[in-house]
């Protein structure tokens, strides 16, 4: 439905509406993988690559740990927001703590080809679909 448009995210509103629609997607169903729900993530598909985008503002790259085993991904780390003992607090909204999330993808991925990028507080994981998971064309004799 969206592929019909030349650029589905021509406006910000279109992107926001598309994301709203997929808030009820069952693509990533509850799986036996253990872990918390932080960080929240969005999953996109681009060609044969799946892209997971998560917002992790204020997390130091060194405090971030990403593990992949088969088609299970685990993102864990620590988010800190501390300002020293002497500081007088006026407003405290940022959350800090430990996070550990594991998710099992409904597709097979190629673990050796996975790339991760952390920029401006956003972690992006590029997960290429495994060759064994690709659909095969069958010739009709």
């Amino acid at each position: 439905m969206m592929a019909l448009l030349p650029n589905p995210f021509d406006t910000l509103l279109q992107l926001q509406q598309a994301l709203d629609t997929f808030r009820t997607s069952s693509w990533l169903e509850p799986s036996p993988s253990r872990g918390g729900a932080y960080p929240p993530m969005n999953v996109f598909n681009k060609g044969e690559t799946y892209i997971i985008i998560t917002e992790l503002p204020g997390v130091n790259k060194a405090d971030l740990d990403i593990q992949i085993k088969h088609n299970t991904i685990r993102i864990s780390g620590t988010k800190s927001a501390s300002y020293g003992e002497t500081a007088g607090q006026h407003r405290r909204e940022r959350l800090a703590g430990r996070f550990d999330r594991a998710l099992t993808l409904p597709i097979e991925i190629d673990p050796d080809q996975v790339k991760a990028e952390y920029r401006d507080g956003i972690l992006t994981l590029f997960l290429p679909r495994a060759a064994s998971d690709m659909p095969k064309s069958i010739k009709v004799n």
Binding site: L13, A18, N42, Y83, A87, Q89
Partner: protein
């Protein structure tokens, strides 16, 4: 102690603004910590995805307005399959109470977190009086 606890998932708060926007789309309120030291007021705002060039910080009549746009062109050609959060620009304003040296406010952006340092004017800084 607090670092040992599991992080909850915060739902992004949509900005309810007095003025209406001419461009359709939702704005979000950045989570902000504000603290004070002897010499400055420091504001720490979470704005993931905002690059330095897409940030505007305006100070007018004691109102500090911070706005961060996001580059959503990187979503070109991507089809969502699953979503847990929405994306959008960030905006928030604060009315400053107190006297600050408005000329020397400094801003620093790192890992999607903006830190604003508002130095207090010399006259309002506490002075230690030596006893002879």
């Amino acid at each position: 102690m607090s670092t040992a606890q599991e992080l909850p998932v915060p739902e992004k708060k949509e900005l309810v603004s007095k003025e209406e926007k001419t461009v359709p789309g939702r704005y979000y309120v950045p989570y902000t910590d504000i603290y004070e030291t002897e010499s400055a007021l420091i504001m720490v705002m979470e704005m993931p995805g905002v690059e330095q060039n897409d940030l505007s910080i305006l100070l007018e009549n004691d109102v500090l307005r911070v706005e961060g746009r996001i580059d959503f062109s990187k979503y070109d050609g991507m089809e969502p399959v699953y979503a847990e959060y929405n994306v959008g620009p960030y905006a928030r304003s604060f009315t400053l109470a107190g006297k600050f040296d408005q000329e020397s406010i400094s801003a620093q952006l790192a890992d999607g977190v903006l830190t604003l340092t508002l130095p207090k004017l010399k006259e309002v800084q506490p002075r230690r009086i030596p006893i002879n």
